[in-house]
């Protein structure tokens, strides 16, 4: 039978600093004479010591310094953005008058870019000069919309109506999102028009560049220049703004560049996310992945090079796989260069840590 003491249960409270001075003094005296309580105290000591002895993550001084720079770059990118947003809010009344007069509302701002986990950041290896994102939003007369800067991103929210949007990146890595009632659209260097009605995206027409369209419950679509997305029954829902008749019920319509504007003959119906993913002349992304999986890294790098040169789909994944392929093929300099390009293009990319390491020659 083990010995017991009525004070043992208070030892933990003493250890945690929960006792007043008098009680603490009494218990300390007691500890000097009671083996049971002293043992409990030693047990608590040992547990803390063991926990504090667990191997701590040892970031190198270089990594800490790089992290610090990333952080401060991101912070500096975020703070001017917030100030700019406040400034724009004050100007909103004047802008509304301009909009009523049908005058395009120009927003041009300068910022460093970064990543953010919802916040912001950039790579220490990319200490780029501030770059400019030029955003031109021309709303239709029925548009209900707003625009804010959020960390590394510009966010246009469209509740209803149409917006013509033109983006000139001037090398900026800032991202542009159009928030839609049923999803979002991300610009990839673009001139495009988006229409919303009855809480649903009705139409997206891309004139230059490409956009990624992500609607709730549907796979991501990439629309290139000349392509148009139309929701089922878009012409009925969007009224006269939609020039193309409705597609089959349940399917979106994707019109290819060879579709004459307004033509109904060449418009065709596709299941979302299938035909839109095909890139003529490019190897299939799945084949590139298979090559990588087989360990044929040089061949995978070449295939992915051809893929990314032709096709904008899976851009982040393809770029990442290509940099890893290059690294594993021993082409570390090329891998580092590509890693830096990855970090510039995808500051919030899922593989940024690996990219940062490869960019540093790791």
């Amino acid at each position: 039978m083990s010995a017991r003491c009525s004070e043992t249960s208070s030892v933990e409270a003493l250890w945690d600093g929960r006792l007043d001075a008098n009680r603490e003094g009494t218990l300390r005296s007691h500890l000097a004479t009671c083996q049971v309580c002293a043992s409990e105290s030693r047990r608590l000591e040992a547990l803390r010591a063991a926990l504090r002895a667990l191997p701590a993550p040892q970031a190198s001084p270089l990594a800490i310094a790089a992290g610090r720079k990333l952080l401060l770059d991101a912070a500096r990118a975020a703070v001017p953005a917030r100030e700019a947003a406040r400034g724009r809010a004050l100007a909103l009344g004047a802008a509304a008058l301009a909009l009523a007069a049908g005058v395009a509302f120009w927003i041009a701002r300068t910022s460093a870019y970064g990543r953010d986990h919802g916040l912001a950041g950039s790579s220490a290896t990319l200490a780029s000069a501030p770059s400019e994102l030029e955003l031109r939003v021309t709303p239709g007369s029925d548009a209900r919309w707003s625009q804010v800067s959020a960390g590394p991103s510009e966010v246009v929210s469209l509740a209803a109506g149409s917006l013509d949007i033109s983006v000139n990146r001037h090398g900026s890595a800032r991202r542009l999102f159009v928030k839609l009632p049923d999803g979002e659209l991300e610009d990839e260097g673009t001139v495009f028009t988006v229409t919303v009605a009855r809480e649903h995206t009705q139409k997206v027409s891309v004139t230059q560049g490409s956009v990624a369209l992500r609607l709730a419950g549907q796979p991501e679509r990439h629309l290139a220049a000349g392509e148009t997305f139309e929701a089922p029954h878009a012409s009925l829902q969007a009224g006269s703004d939609s020039a193309t008749p409705a597609a089959d019920a349940g399917h979106a319509t994707l019109r290819r560049p060879d579709s004459a504007p307004g033509s109904t003959a060449s418009g065709h119906t596709v299941k979302p996310g299938t035909e839109a993913d095909a890139c003529p002349g490019a190897p299939r992304f799945e084949d590139c992945v298979d090559t990588f999986k087989r360990g044929e890294y040089a061949a995978a790098a070449e295939a992915l090079d051809r893929y990314t040169a032709t096709c904008s789909h899976h851009a982040e994944d393809a770029t990442y796989l290509r940099m890893v392929s290059l690294a594993r093929a021993g082409r570390t300099t090329e891998a580092a260069t590509l890693a830096r390009a990855y970090l510039a293009r995808f500051p919030e990319g899922f593989r940024r840590k690996e990219a940062e390491r490869l960019a540093a020659g790791g």
Partner: protein, 212 residues
């Protein structure tokens, strides 16, 4: 097992951890004034203040993230996100509070949110993840002398998160009950209860491991 861990290399740590001899409170008091000043400057948009806070607390946030997740690779991301969240919320910081506890509370929230938001991070191209260098691959971990710590680490990660976060904040980060309560937004009584049970469960797990 606990007693074994306490011997040898831990003797010095134990001595320092004895009642009244821990220098942490004094050091933290000295830091708290600097932190409060830095937070005020940060709230006014002075980004350099964020660098000061990073210099003082990044190691604690990194350590906390690792202890909570068991993955050293998470450290950089959590540190980055935590300090940026601090920037965004600088104006809400109360000078009377511990900045480090506040940061660890943010980190805990971020980690909880990231976990509940799904496995996208892990899923995306996870099969192609490049091996990560660093302490997790430390060859010493394979040595017998480290087995106890490995076991402790595993036992810690098996604790329910609500208890683990309190235990890590209290025992590893040295935060007081009030600080933990504020950081996590829970009553201080709940802190003590969770801490007590966490210690008991951890001790039981270690004893069971030591016998096996």
């Amino acid at each position: 097992m606990v007693a074994e861990l306490a011997r040898g290399a831990f003797a010095a740590s134990i001595a320092k951890a004895a009642f009244g001899s821990d220098s942490r409170p004094n050091r933290e008091r000295e830091e708290s004034d600097d932190d409060a000043r830095a937070m005020r400057r940060l709230a006014q948009g002075e980004i350099d203040a964020l660098g000061e806070l990073y210099d003082r607390h990044q190691a604690a946030v990194r350590r906390f993230a690792t202890r909570m997740s068991g993955r050293a690779a998470d450290g950089d991301d959590i540190v980055h996100a935590t300090f940026l969240a601090a920037l965004k919320n600088a104006s809400t910081f109360e000078a009377s509070r511990s900045c480090r506890a506040w940061l660890l509370g943010i980190a805990a929230q971020l980690m909880r949110r990231e976990r509940t938001q799904g496995a996208r991070w892990a899923r995306l191209l996870g099969a192609f993840r490049t091996p990560e260098p660093g302490w997790t691959q430390d060859p010493e971990r394979a040595l017998t002398a480290r087995e106890g710590l490995d076991h402790l680490e595993r036992a810690l990660l098996r604790l329910p998160e609500a208890k683990r976060v309190v235990l890590v904040m209290a025992e590893i980060e040295g935060l007081g009950g009030e600080e933990i309560a504020q950081a996590l937004g829970i009553p201080v009584g709940t802190v003590w209860t969770r801490l007590h049970h966490a210690r008991r469960e951890l001790a039981r797990a270690l004893e069971a491991g030591g016998e096996s």
